[in-house]
Symmetry: C3
Subunit: 212 residues, 3 copies
């Protein structure tokens, strides 16, 4: 397989994949809060929280300009995708599973981007891995907190664990001086593959049950 | 009608209206969590979250000095108003509706201030409008999340929608070069009017109910 | 009693007490969410929120570099303590009360550190006291919000009130030019003593019950 080599092509491709992942997370979040009686505004807030919450938390912690303030295309994509899903879902039944694959792509992509951003700022590798996981999963946590539910990622199929494994793989691959594009590709594929396998075979971490 | 023209008078007037709106939001929040068995500390936290949460979120996102750190008068006003409402409400029945009008003034004022601040920093108009809405409504969301309730503004009468309409009106009026004081006055009046009309006639956005 | 006078000894001692307090808060949080069916990841998130949430909120509000990004030892200590408590608690019954004393030490220490940091940045004394309380108690609030429960500190035994009393005592003692080490020691002891007394004799603030 041949990865693209023209830097402008790569970064443009990455940019639009990022926009698409933001839109997919926003739409998926709207379907997941479907059982709540939210109005159009509530739906947009939940879509924003799910799609932009991870990157926003990362940017605040790293003291960077928040990414959607620097480039509002992300904001607009999340709003349009959230409203679109809202309007579609009122007309026809949309299975929540429809968005599992775009959501897994988003998880992989956000985690890789967050880890690389933190590494480029020279943080310790533990901090870089955590920033990757935060970028990948904080959106889902905020969505569930706003909907007043226990965050599903605390108890469901592997989600943050897949993000963590991918972030550590990326850091390891870059440490042994793998080509950064391949490192990102393999680490992202690991996250995507783990997440799909977890959904398919209901893989999960051991649950906590304190003895009393 | 004649708007004041002395800049010092305007800014002093605006300053004290802002302090009063912070105090009103704090007092209103205390009455709204009345059914929870919070103690005086919990009440002050909820009062802070409701009265200062919107502006704090805005300042963190825009990387400005948090407004109540720059000027603690806001902090003191929120604490005194929250404690005052706590002590009064233990002695006599205070209808929650008592604060609906000050709360609507606060919504209008906070939204206008947030939108203008973001515009002055040169953000995209979509970001400026969102900052206005965040400044206006995030306090109420934080209050409900802390009280472990589904945020009422996600499903009740027009609230954020009124804020959004006013923020967009302000941006449009300034775009066609309306005098900034009149633009702020008309956009704020739109928010206040929409909110009162929504309370009076139970106006709300269509609810989300996904087909299954 | 003789306090240590060598500055390097003092700051090294303070540093390791801080690390130990972070670890104790993380372990205590894991035991407190024991009745929820969280997995290992959820447990680590809750441990991070409880142990690092207060200082993180303070650093974001004061626009400082987040302390665990500047020194990831805190991050590693919280993760190891959280996972350790998770694994231990699955094997043997650990009483939640086991951590009440380390938790009270953490409350005292975090509050003193937060207050001093804010004072060193020249904030108003009301802001410095609030920063102390936020550093001391925000971790527990975040933990409960993530676990989808009403924050216990809003209605339980004196907790934030102890922190607030200690922060004000520190500010007062420094104002009358007490030796800073003694001021920190006495204010910290006040917090620790108040908290233990509150647990022992079930001291609490008056509850809010609005008349209707």
């Amino acid at each position: 397989m041949q990865l693209p080599t023209n830097p402008a092509t790569i970064s443009l491709l990455g940019y639009w994949i990022g926009i698409a992942a933001v839109a997919a997370c926003a739409a998926a979040a709207v379907l997941e809060v479907g059982r709540k009686q939210f109005d159009a505004f509530g739906v947009v807030v939940v879509a924003f929280a799910a799609a932009l919450g991870g990157g926003t938390t990362r940017d605040l912690l790293l003291n960077r300009t928040v990414f959607w303030i620097a480039d509002p295309t992300y904001l607009i994509a999340a709003a349009l995708a959230g409203l679109g899903a809202f309007m579609l879902a009122r007309r026809m039944p949309l299975p929540a599973r429809l968005f599992l694959i775009p959501d897994a792509i988003g998880l992989a992509l956000f985690t890789i981007i967050g880890t690389k951003l933190a590494m480029n700022m020279g943080t310790h590798w533990t901090v870089a891995a955590l920033m990757g996981v935060i970028t990948g999963v904080m959106g889902g946590i905020l969505r569930d907190v706003l909907a007043n539910e226990e965050p599903v990622i605390f108890s469901g199929e592997l989600y943050a664990t897949a993000a963590g494994a991918g972030a550590l793989a990326l850091i390891g691959l870059l440490h042994i001086e793998t080509d950064p594009r391949w490192a990102a590709f393999w680490a992202g594929s690991l996250i995507f593959g783990l997440r799909l396998a977890a959904i398919r075979w209901h893989l999960s971490l051991p649950k906590f049950e304190a003895r009393r």
